[in-house]
């Protein structure tokens, strides 16, 4: 299993297209983890990349948290576990991110530390978070629009559209 912390959020990369923010540790070519916002007329879209599938899921969660401005409050932490089965990896990703949408909206909880295990199309996530300190935008849903998790020699990437 792989653990990631959002304790140090990346700052937007300098230069480049001003209407696209890039939050990347290294470039997509080397396939370290990262995400960038893509232009979409009415909703939000992100491109996410990572060296492994669990890392991709974590980056997708980070991207979603960044876009919506979700920040967990300091103080007592809580743990949650998500277990899911799905016909394919894209459905697993939608299931995972949709759960986070629900937890933000309904339980007012923000999660920023994830342990992710993916075996075939089975997902287990144990995550740590706390109550929401701030939230600037609601995400209504995670869509399947053009959703495809692509594997390359360097890792994985995908594009996700959120309904806002």
């Amino acid at each position: 299993m792989t653990s990631f912390s959002l304790a140090n959020l990346p700052q937007p990369a300098q230069g480049g297209r001003k209407d696209i923010k890039m939050y990347n540790y290294t470039s997509m070519d080397s396939m370290e983890s990262g995400f960038e916002e893509l232009p979409h007329t009415a909703d939000w879209a992100v491109r996410v990349w990572a060296g492994s599938l669990p890392e991709l899921f974590v980056e997708a969660a980070r991207a979603m948290n960044t876009l919506s401005g979700v920040k967990p409050a300091p103080g007592p932490r809580c743990q949650r576990t998500i277990e899911a089965n799905a016909p394919d990896l894209e459905s697993l990703l939608v299931t995972f991110l949709s759960e986070l949408v629900y937890l933000v909206e309904h339980e007012k909880l923000a999660f920023d530390i994830f342990n992710i295990d993916i075996q075939d199309t089975q997902l287990k996530v144990t995550m740590s978070g706390s109550s929401i300190l701030s939230l600037s935008k609601s995400i209504k849903a995670v869509t399947y629009h053009n959703l495809q998790i692509c594997k390359t020699e360097h890792g994985f990437h995908t594009e996700i559209v959120f309904d806002v």
Binding site: D19, L135, H145, D163
Partner: protein, 483 residues
């Protein structure tokens, strides 16, 4: 991306992407737009999405897209498609996550000039009584059995609770209730999300807005609708909140396997569908209708709250403050309707995603007072700009599945709008123009800037020139409340 030169021009306001354009198209795509609007439209993927939508099994006629169209997911926003009933499919992506997002218009007899000293107070009270914004909860708390009743009955539930008048019900599309709702097909999670949100506006492009009737283009129809020149009216724009979002999420997810089961091949996973007469299709229909009824009840409660705000502001000071409903329309919905195909009536499931029903004179389902005028068609403009009240026509029944546009239509991405426009500056500009603004989020306000949208006048001119609606009144904002 599809370019203008790929389109076949039918008239100055109607274009076609022929069925031969792509091998998987089942019907052509008809686009209502001027050439100038097409330049904006062809800048995103909406035309490609319209072509994708035309691949659904059981489609009849053509997929129609309105001049306010823009890129969505699955269907473009502004699309209308009809599938044969019962053999065709129903697609949650053809209706959208915000099931029965729609608009309600209520009219008063308060002259705007006399109301001017009170608009700021009214805006503050509307902001208080109609919760809007991220994380804001609703105004009522319901038990599970009561929520199920609301999902079955929609506005009628609100009437029984004392939140509605008979006129409100009669002047709501489908009398505020889609028959055949099945709350048992709505997931527990969807009910959890919705239970705490009844009577709230939400965020994004949802709003409550006070307008002045600036001009009457058809005074006779305006009088029938209850619109008086230079008087105040109120618009409410919102939908089914988290309940609807979850219903669509649940069924788009479930239908990923359903399409494989039925051997349906689609170019976009967001277009997943099920045959309407299948158990899966029927389950979604039951859930979608429940969510639609939730939205009707939601707008009804907001209207009730808005009436309190008007009473508190104006009672004892001005006469004519009572709000009378003009109409309430859906613009994300799937409904069984009968339309003429090659001269013969055919029952179809009309999917409207960012499009408004625009039934013409004499159409079944209209209240008696609107049978001669045709149905009111409510077209809110972008924030701070004009809105329109149109009326449906007989031509819309023949050419656009009885549908018309639903708004101005975005043309700038939210990220670009946030980058280029400062919410504080926008609020200041609007207030300089005499528009009171109550907004929960400055970045949210920036995203909804008028420059992010097409010109609503141009959109309306197009549908009018195409004959699928006609002008009745133009409205100007005085106060905007949004999350």
């Amino acid at each position: 991306m599809i370019q203008i030169q790929d389109l076949k021009k039918i008239t100055d306001y109607e274009w076609e992407i022929p069925k031969a354009f792509r091998p998987d198209m089942r019907v052509p795509v008809r686009i209502f737009a001027t050439h100038d609007l097409l330049i904006h439209i062809s800048g995103d993927k909406s035309l490609e999405q319209a072509v994708n939508a035309s691949t659904l099994p059981g489609l009849v006629g053509y997929v129609v897209v309105m001049p306010d169209m823009h890129q969505g997911y699955g269907f473009p926003i502004g699309a209308v498609a009809a599938t044969e009933f019962p053999g065709g499919v129903i697609s949650p992506g053809g209706i959208g996550y915000d099931i029965n997002c729609g608009v309600r218009l209520l009219a008063s007899s308060i002259p705007a000039e006399a109301a001017a000293p009170y608009i700021s107070t009214l805006a503050t009270l509307l902001n208080q009584y109609c919760p809007s914004g991220v994380g804001k909860q609703g105004v009522v708390s319901l038990s599970s059995p009561e929520l199920d009743r609301l999902l079955r009955e929609g506005s009628r539930w609100a009437f029984k609770q004392g939140y509605a008048t008979e006129s409100d019900i009669a002047r709501t599309e489908e009398n505020g209730c889609l028959e055949g709702a099945n709350p048992a097909k709505v997931s527990a999670r969807a009910k959890e999300r919705g239970r705490s949100q009844i009577g709230s506006v939400g965020a994004g492009n949802h709003f409550v807005e006070v307008d002045r009737v600036e001009a009457l283009l058809d005074p006779k129809s305006a009088a029938v609708f209850g619109l008086q020149e230079d008087c105040l009216v109120l618009q409410i724009h919102c939908g089914s909140r988290g309940l609807g979002h979850q219903v669509c999420t649940d069924y788009v997810q479930e239908f990923q396997a359903v399409v494989r089961r039925y051997g349906i091949d689609l170019p976009d996973r967001e277009l997943v569908c099920a045959p309407m007469d299948s158990p899966e299709g029927q389950a979604y229909l039951g859930a979608m209708r429940s969510a639609a009824n939730f939205a009707f009840a939601n707008r009804q409660l907001l209207a009730h709250s808005a009436r309190h705000a008007f009473e508190e502001t104006f009672s004892g000071k001005l006469k004519g403050w009572q709000l009378v409903q003009v109409y309430d329309i859906c613009h994300n919905i799937g409904k069984l309707e009968t339309h003429l195909i090659d001269g013969s009536p055919l029952k179809v499931c009309v999917h409207r995603k960012g499009a408004t029903r625009a039934f013409g004179p004499g159409a079944a389902g209209l209240p008696p007072e609107y049978r001669e005028t045709g149905q009111p068609v409510l077209v809110p403009g972008s924030m701070g700009t004009a809105s329109w009240v149109l009326a449906g026509t007989e031509m819309s029944m023949l050419h656009s599945w009885g549908s018309s546009c639903h708004g101005a239509g975005r043309m700038m991405s939210r990220s670009k709008a946030k980058h280029e426009i400062r919410g504080e500056a926008l609020r200041h500009d609007m207030q300089e123009k005499g528009i009171q603004v109550r907004a929960g989020s400055m970045s949210g306000l920036a995203e909804e800037a008028p420059s992010a949208y097409k010109d609503v006048d141009a959109v309306v001119e197009t549908v009018v020139a195409a004959g699928i609606a006609r002008k009745v009144a133009r409205l100007r904002p005085l106060a905007v409340v949004k999350g």
